[in-house]
Symmetry: C2
Subunit: 317 residues, 2 copies
C-alpha cells in the first residue's frame, strides 16, 4: 500500500520541477452550498494538469541504467504531456501511445516536449498493446498513467500542499478516472489527518469505480459516455486496493451537473478548467455530497481543452 | 501627488477585506517573448477585478458622519460592483449610475450587493450628470472611479503585493483607462524601486492617454472603439499629473492583439480574463515593448465577461 512517507518523498523530489499551485476560495460559491470550499487549482500546474506530479516523480525515480532507454506510456492526454515533459527534463526519450481522437490541444502539448507519438484505437486494450510492443522494442520502462505507486505518490503531493495551506479541511472531493489521483489524495489526507473524509466523484456515464467500490471487485468499463474525457479510464488493481482501504465513499454526477459546475468555475472563480476538472465540484452543485458547515478541499485537476468547442455552445448534451 | 505611504496605508486598511491575489508564471509564454513575465491576477480579486481595492480604501476612509448618507458613483461596471460591495461591508447605501449597455454579468454583480442602479446614456457627460444629481439629492459623497487619491492609493496595493512577492521585477506593464490603476501602480513601483520602469498600455481605439502623454495636455476621448470596455474612460486631472510624473511611456495595441493576448491567457495561463485585462500582455504579443531579458510585471485587471459572447466566436473584429 501507498504510505504518507511515499508522498512526502515524492514532494521533496519534484517540488523544484513543478508549480506549487494556488488554492482559490469564493464567497459566492460558499454561499450557494453552505460550506467553505478550497479549490486546489492543478489547472495551473505544469502541462496544465496534476499529472505533471506523478510522471515527474516516476521518471526521476528511475535508475540511470533504466532511464537511458527512455520511457513509454499510453494516455488520453495529460499524462502523456506530463511524461513528455519529465522525460525532457531528465534528458531521455519518451514514446507516447495516444488514442487518435484526443483533442488537438493535448496532442500539441505532447509534441512541444519532443516526444514521439504513436496513435491507436480509442480502447484500453489497443493502448496497452501498443505500449507493450514499444516497450519490448526499445527496452523503455512503462510509466503507467495511474496503476503505479510512483505515480500515485506524485499525484498525492497536491493534497500535501493543500492540507499544509489549509489544515482545517475536513472533507476532500476528488474525481476518479483510473484512480491514481484519489489514491495519492486519500493517502496524503488520511496520513496527515486520520479523521478527514475523502469522497471520490465519477461521471455517471463512466461509473466503473462507483460500481467497483460498491461490489467489492473491479467492474470493467467498456463504453464510457461522458464529456469528462480524462475520466474514461478504469481502475487498476493497485488503485482499487487503495480506494477500498482509504476512500469513504464514491458518488456519481450527471453530464448536466459537470457542465454547470464547469461554467460556474469559469464565471465565478475565473479559471479555465476542462470538464474532468469540474467533476468534484459537480458533486456539490448536484447535492451528491452534503457540504453544509464543512471545510471542503476540491481537487481541480486540469485546464487543457479546445476553446473553440466549449460545452455551453453545444446542442448535444 | 500620491505617495508610497498612501499606498502602504491603503494596504493596511483593506488587506483583510480583499484577496491577496496569486502571481502566475508560464515557461511557455516566457519562451515566446524572451522575458520573464509575472502576471498579477486581479481577475481573482473580490468582485473579479482590482477595482475592489480602490473602492474599499475610499469607502473605509470616509468619516462616519459622511458615510452614513451612503455613497454614489458612476462606472461601466467593475468599479460599480466594487463600490456596492465595499458599501455593503461598511453597512451603508450605494447609488450606482451605469450606462445602459454594460454587460449583464456586470449589472448582476452590482445587484448582488444590494446597491441601487440608475441607468444612463453611455457617455461620460451623462454619467457625471446623473451621479451629481443623486449626490445632490442624497448628500452621499461621490466615489469617483479613478480621479480620487483614495481610489488611486487602493489600486496601487496590487503592485505593492506584486513587488513584495517578486522584488526582481524591473518593468511593469499596466493598462490605462481613466488612469487610476496606473497612478497607484507607478507610485508603488517607483516608491519601492526607483530604477523600475512603468509602461502604460492602451487600446489604439481608445488612445486618449497615449495622445495626452505625448502632447502634454489632456486630449479628450469622444468615441472610443475597442472591445476593452473597461478602458473606454478618459484621464482625469489628478491621474494625468501622476502619469506625466511617474510613467515612462505609453504604448497602444490593436484590437487583434488584445483578442490574441486574451486567448493565450485563457489557453496557456488557464485564467478567465476580460478583454481589458489582456491589454497589458497584448503589448508583449504585439511587440510594442521590448521585454527580452527583463523581469516584467503584467497587471491582469479583471475577469468579468459574458461567456456566451467570447470574441473568438465573433465575426466583427
Amino acid at each position: 500500500m501507498l504510505a504518507l512517507q511515499d508522498v512526502r518523498d515524492a514532494h521533496a523530489r519534484i517540488r523544484d520541477k513543478i508549480h506549487r499551485t494556488p488554492v482559490l476560495t469564493s464567497e459566492t460559491l460558499d454561499a450557494h452550498c453552505g460550506g467553505s470550499l478550497y479549490f486546489k487549482c492543478e489547472n495551473f500546474q505544469k502541462i496544465g494538469a496534476f499529472k505533471a506530479r506523478g510522471a515527474t516523480n516516476a521518471i526521476f525515480l528511475l535508475p540511470d541504467a533504466e532511464a537511458k532507454r527512455g520511457v513509454v506510456t499510453h494516455s488520453s492526454g495529460n499524462h502523456a504531456a506530463a511524461v513528455a515533459r519529465a522525460a525532457k527534463l531528465r534528458g531521455i526519450p519518451a514514446y507516447i501511445v495516444m488514442p487518435h481522437n484526443v483533442p488537438k490541444a493535448k496532442q500539441d502539448s505532447v509534441r512541444r516536449y519532443g516526444a514521439k507519438i504513436e496513435f491507436c484505437e480509442p480502447t484500453i486494450a489497443a493502448r496497452e498493446a501498443a505500449a507493450a510492443r514499444i516497450a519490448g522494442e526499445t527496452g523503455a520502462p512503462l510509466i503507467h498513467p495511474f496503476n503505479d505507486y510512483r505515480v500515485m505518490a506524485g499525484q498525492g503531493t497536491a493534497t500535501l500542499e493543500l492540507m499544509e495551506d489549509h489544515p482545517q479541511i475536513d472533507l476532500v472531493l476528488c474525481p476518479i478516472g483510473g484512480g491514481g489521483l484519489i489514491s495519492g489524495t486519500a493517502t496524503a489526507a488520511k496520513g496527515l489527518k486520520p479523521g478527514i473524509r475523502v469522497i471520490g466523484v465519477e461521471p455517471a456515464g463512466a461509473d466503473d469505480a462507483y460500481r467497483s467500490f460498491r461490489s467489492g471487485a473491479i467492474v470493467p468499463m467498456t463504453a464510457p459516455r461522458t464529456i469528462a474525457d480524462g475520466l474514461r479510464g478504469m481502475l487498476g488493481d493497485k488503485t482499487f486496493a487503495e480506494i477500498r482501504e482509504k476512500v469513504d465513499d464514491v458518488v456519481t454526477v450527471s453530464e448536466a451537473a459537470i457542465v454547470s459546475a464547469m461554467r460556474s468555475m469559469w464565471e465565478v472563480l475565473k479559471i479555465v478548467v476542462e470538464p474532468s476538472a469540474a467533476v468534484a465540484y459537480a458533486a456539490v452543485v448536484e447535492n451528491r455530497v452534503n457540504v453544509a458547515g464543512k471545510r471542503v478541499g476540491v481537487i481541480v485537476t486540469g485546464g487543457n481543452l479546445d476553446l473553440d468547442a466549449l460545452p455551453w455552445f453545444s446542442e448535444v448534451l
